[in-house]
Amino acid sequence: MTTHAGAVHAHEAPQGFIRKYIFSLDHKVIGKQYISLALFSAFVGMFLSLLMRMRLAWPTMKLPFFPDGILPEQYLAMVTMHGTIMVFMVLTTAPQSGFGNYFLPIQIGAADMAFPVLNMLSFWTTLLSLVVLMAAFFVSGGAPLGGWTVYTPLSAIGQIAGPGQGLGMTLWVIAIAIFCGASLMGAINFIATTLDLRSRGMSLMRLPLTVWAWFITAVISLLAFGVLLAAGILLLLDRTAGTSFFIPGNLVLTDKVIPHKGGSPILWQHLFWFFGHPEVYIAILPGMGLASHVLSTFSRKPVFGYRAMVFAMSSIAFLGFIVWGHHMFVSGMSPYVGLAFSVLTMSIGVPSAIKTFNWLGTLWGGDIKFTTPMLFALGFVSLFVSGGLSGLFLAQTSIDQYLHDTYFVVAHFHLIMGVAAIFGIFTGVYFWFPKMFGRMMSDTMGKLHFWLTFVGVYAIFMPMHFIGLAGHPRRYADGSGAAYLASMDPVHVFMSVAAFVTIAAQFIFLFNFLWSIWKGKKADINPWQATTLEWGVPSPPPHDNFAGHEPPVHRGAYEFAVPGVADDYIMQTTPPEKVAKA
């Protein structure tokens, strides 16, 4: 930034509490709203996982509100809601809609998103979706028990299929349909903003990798959520209007014949996974972008293979749309189709490997500073490797016949799209907190949080792979149904204890977060000595970000350790003539 003199505010700050904080059009407020929504949802989802771990380790233990212990149907309702809340309300909202809304416009030098009203609408629609989803807990029959994939016909034939499959399931479908609408609105905004509101000099190859990740994620959302919406509408009609899209004929439950015929359960699975697999990348891509960004910043070294990173993210997005069938190898789908999906899926390991190599290349020869965000980014890389490699087993048709629907799968996707993505979110919180709130988070508490979480998640999910290898099916309320599961009981106890410790550690984070908002050390404008545009505006940034200027951009996003330059970083906005020589 050169001068603020004579700047005209293009976007006047609204007055009054409601316009400023509730129905705000400011992308930064909306970003914070999304982050708050995700934080709330994360704690709800985590609480559900706590109850699930209680049930798995001590099936008969009595708990407050559960006088007879947690019943199997209650356990399955927790499974369903934990998955749904975490996938949709946390992993889809926080990294993309939360951080993306807040930082994408600033990082490209724009005053706001392209369509602020649409932006506000997409947040409030998401909130509505969350409210409808949560309502499922409180209706008669409770929350649905069919898992977050809601396979038909279990999810399509109503209360007769089990507790929670009545009104609770209907609310679930409505909530997800609303969420699809919200995500589509968000995706349109992200794409238009990135394409058309970049500042002068901000060419595509100068974009921070975070922006690339948000942009590519928005494209995935745009193409995936419409399909889920269509599937959700058809499912809703099967449930309420008597159609038979997904329900075949002659089903008999409790001696009652279900009055539907001809539908295809596998059709639901195709539609769901056509969305569901890209959804995995919606969750993880922003984390990948942020990991690249933070690894470069704190190793004081340019990103290794910037173009390769962009290429890898784009190919992951593309391949993500043609591999959905690997969730369905044993679903009754044609085995020839399974064969094709298997080979395609193995090829998605290639761009993932490219990314890992480039992260190591970025660190190699660096000057690594171990700040809290850096630790989480390093944790992300480790988790991404561990969680990704197990995918190579599952992608193979023959091996998947054994591993499908065992705890091996649960361990795999929790490491890679659950925990790794959450580490991406933590990286973002610790990294951007000073910019968002103008104060630093406590480094001591941050590091304690990191160590407990990093060790904790490995202690939970590494053993989980092994009980999967031993053939423990997932979504079992306990091991009483098969004798061989008894040998795994001690492992369940170990994982549950690890989960309690890890969950307890999250309260350190929550305390640090809230405490630092008011009591943290005041942050400088650029506490990390980073290069991108958000570090050139005050902390927190003013309402219109650049005070009416359009900041000119002079170079790429990762100019660290440039030879012949005094500092070990050059900001994107620093004009060449102002760069101090060594």
Binding site: I191, G201, G226
Partner: protein, 219 residues
């Protein structure tokens, strides 16, 4: 600068509230004048519309694939006779696509606003007529005893036409919005709105033809 309503706020934001400062640095700037702001705004809105169309297309492709799969796997598929009025509706919609294009092009000429308003009104009327025609088609089917849950083919007929109709209804509301606001002389974004809505309208027209062919020849 007052920002009394959301729309005004949006306009101020997007159009820029005044002469932009800080234009001179970095050796001159080719898009410092307000004309370039208009061009950028136009590009942004058209990007938004085109991107939205991609999402809508995926929605309909999911339904169309389901149609083909469901027809192929189920044994209970009974083809339904397309009500004749659908062909009339199709003609109406194609005509409206032409009138919206004529309307939009009128704006390119100075003083073309009144011609624009007339053609725009005709388009809106044709859009409403199409929606009415679709409801008549539903009545024709209902009279034959074909309802949403009667048969998979009728289920898909209602789902596809209702989904398309809902999108077209949004289009009609957008047409009405522009028709109302066109009266305001100072409305700078009339041409952008007209162009964006025209693109959307052509898309729905093409989509309908595709759906009709699917329903008619794929039954």
């Amino acid at each position: 600068m007052p920002s009394a309503t959301i729309t005004e706020d949006l306009e101020i934001l997007n159009a820029g509230g005044g002469p932009p400062a800080n234009r001179g640095i970095d050796g001159g700037d080719s898009r410092g004048d307000s004309g370039s702001f208009y061009a950028r705004e136009r590009r942004m809105y058209l990007t938004g519309v085109s991107v939205a169309l991609a999402g809508i297309l995926m929605f309909f492709m999911a339904l169309a694939s389901s149609y083909i799969v469901r027809k192929g796997t189920g044994t209970d598929w009974q083809p339904i006779e397309m009500p004749g009025i659908l062909w009339v509706n199709t003609a109406v919609l194609v005509a409206s696509s032409i009138t919206v294009e004529v309307a939009r092009r009128k704006l390119a000429f100075a003083g073309g606003v009144s011609a624009f308003r007339n053609w725009w009104a005709i388009t809106t009327a044709l859009g409403v007529l199409f929606l009415g025609g679709q409801i008549v088609a539903w009545r024709v089917l209902a009279d034959q005893g074909l309802f949403l849950a009667t048969n998979p083919s009728s289920s898909f007929f209602y789902v596809l036409t209702a989904s398309h109709g809902a999108h077209l209804l949004v289009g009609v509301l957008a047409l009405l919005y522009v028709a109302v606001r066109t009266g305001q002389a100072a409305w700078r974004r009339r041409a952008i709105a007209a162009e964006g809505i025209a693109i959307y309208w052509h898309f729905l027209d093409g989509l309908w033809v595709f759906l009709l062919l699917l329903l008619n020849f794929g039954r």
